[in-house]
Symmetry: C2
Amino acid sequence: MQAGRPIELNGKPIAGGKVPLVCTPLVGRSADAILCELERIVPKRPDVLEWRVDFFDRIGDAEAVIATAGRIRQAAGGTPLLFTRRSAAEGGEAIALGEQQVVALYEALCAARAAELVDFEMRSDPAHLRRVREAARANGIALVLSYHDFTQTPPAAEILQRFRDAQALGADVAKVALMPRGPDDVLTLLAATLQASRELPIPLISMSMGGYGALTRMFGWAFGSALTFAIGDRGSAPGQMPIEDLQAVLAIAAKAFGGK
Amino acid sequence: MQAGRPIELNGKPIAGGKVPLVCTPLVGRSADAILCELERIVPKRPDVLEWRVDFFDRIGDAEAVIATAGRIRQAAGGTPLLFTRRSAAEGGEAIALGEQQVVALYEALCAARAAELVDFEMRSDPAHLRRVREAARANGIALVLSYHDFTQTPPAAEILQRFRDAQALGADVAKVALMPRGPDDVLTLLAATLQASRELPIPLISMSMGGYGALTRMFGWAFGSALTFAIGDRGSAPGQMPIEDLQAVLAIAAKAFGGK
């Protein structure tokens, strides 16, 4: 079966090249809340943890952020950590920091090597993006460049262009998440992902959100998406499924697709 | 969530309008073998049973066929029976009967009202198709007109035309089953089904076969397919999944799609 290019860390595929990786978000407001989430999540064996730092009440304190990342990694027992500040414009929480401060936070986190991957939005100011990319590169951290639209799904050619943009901007992984308005949009997202996976040398992550999009969270891997998000304890975007349900479907699908 | 138009019997939707219906094939060579299959299948609660009469060693004996249909229905406890002779040209078993004899068998079975639905191939001789349609209509039996290609998936416009053909030929239900050569073909089949479901007033059944196509057996309902085939005891086409697996995925999907 056609599958996404696996996501690598320093040349080694995560989880032995498993596709799709299942990633659960951490959305606690405090370090204690996050560690409490982790206690419930870790036994469910996600392949990657995403810390959505825009939920964190001390996001303005870089030292606290780095210390908390360290505590997460200690509790996670080797599961790679994806560090993400999602902007309010792309579906994240409103935060008190300006963009310059966000970039400085990414730089500090990368310098401390406090995560294995960082997600940065590809629509960010090019100078900011360059700084985050350099910080990630200099410290052996994989850079996910992401694009989110919570209102609609553009035509396939535009989606394909978003993936190309990410690659052109130096992404190690390109991520596109869109809201479908109907089942057609789900097929459009899958078709564009498939085309991008044939054209681009980097691994991709894509999904349709919301109810209609659940299909892509379960089967996007068959069209070139290397990672899917699922709820470990609490979700971070519309349409995410409990990790147990997703893992059950993936096991059945692996059997049904029978190596094709 | 977009769903297929439910399949009705005399104006009443099967299984209360459940979408998708899950249909398991019966492929025994003898009446005893079929009844043995049924003992294993009935506890798994399929919504429809398909008797693939081309597997039956006494297909040349209309009385034996009708009697066996009666025994199947008795054992099935009210689960509707779909009677199907699949031709060798469309993936069925080779049989000793000529097409005239097949049509006479359908006429006899309909006259005996020995099934709730019959499947007849839309590429059949038009005169034969007319006779089967009349026999089904005269006896209140639903007519599925079907099209199978075990080698390829044509472009979406051609697939849509097959659904239209079935409707034009007087089908109560239109069925199209195609072999994909890659994941693109799976999306093509789903897109064509979605378009047909918006355009045509009759319920549709569609699937991609083989490994790639398993996705459509699980999620074709979200794109307008009203029924999906699963293995109760033994399969009848490439890519069919065990009914238990399919039911598990459908339950998870119903939760994930959350009414959309």
